[in-house]
Subunit: 152 residues, 2 copies
């Protein structure tokens, strides 16, 4: 049974794709993409981290990190600083503009969240949030990263 009516797994992947697409459209107005927002957020939370650490935390390829940071640096949103102890590493930090833009992106995210859940009552919303967190924990999904994890 449970084969013809959608099922939770299918609904999740359908709703999740929809949520991601919609969020992407919303942050596009800031010149950002969902992964770039994740990068900014991670640098904000752990300023001074290296590109390797960033790649590890977010499950990104190092070469992809280079491209992202190139972009963000060119736009004056993040800075690269060579390590003094180990001159191979690049320490990342947000500029004032980067912090400002991340703030706007987080506001967009909050408005996106509200708009997406508009059909739910506050009680349903809290219920759904709890169930999803439960499910995410059971699959050992970390709150930070997503979508970028490579496999095989």
């Amino acid at each position: 049974m449970a084969a013809d009516s959608p099922g939770i797994a299918f609904l999740l992947s359908q709703l999740g794709a929809h949520a991601a697409t919609q969020f992407g459209a919303r942050v596009e107005e800031l010149g950002l993409t969902p992964p770039l927002v994740g990068v900014l957020r991670m640098i904000s939370v752990r300023p001074g981290l290296s590109q390797q650490q960033l790649a590890g935390e977010l499950g990104l390829l190092p070469s992809k990190v280079v491209a992202f940071v190139d972009d963000l640096e060119r736009r004056g949103l993040v800075t690269r600083t060579r390590g003094t102890r180990d001159r191979r590493v690049q320490h990342l930090a947000l500029t004032a503009e980067g912090t400002e833009l991340l703030g706007e992106a987080l506001e967009v995210a909050a408005r996106h969240e509200d708009a997406f859940c508009l059909a739910l009552t506050p009680e349903e919303r809290a219920q759904l949030q709890a169930l999803l967190e439960h499910l995410a924990r059971s699959h050992e999904l970390t709150p930070g990263a997503h979508g970028h994890r490579r496999m095989r």
Copy 2:
């Protein structure tokens, strides 16, 4: 607020991506991909439909449908039949093997569903299903198609 703790939209896109990836890995053993399962299912539900209709229902590009059907036909899972009234259209149908394989894929989907929701009690599972259906309806997502919808 609601910016630092994940939020429903983010959890959905994270869990949804995870569910889709896992399902993809599971049907890979049958030589299928999630979109191919969707194609088989649609042909099963509406046998004799044309490639254009299939593209319309699933939100696929016509050229993509050609590639999919080429693949499935070569493997003896579906048949193409020229229309008699209008000889431009190709009517699609499942072979016995196609029906058989779709059945196996749906079993895999059911087992995937159970495994994915293992951490939930039957009550939580029913609750979550209802909430997700509610949310999906509010976003006017059709039960059939997903992930393939093109935009802009």
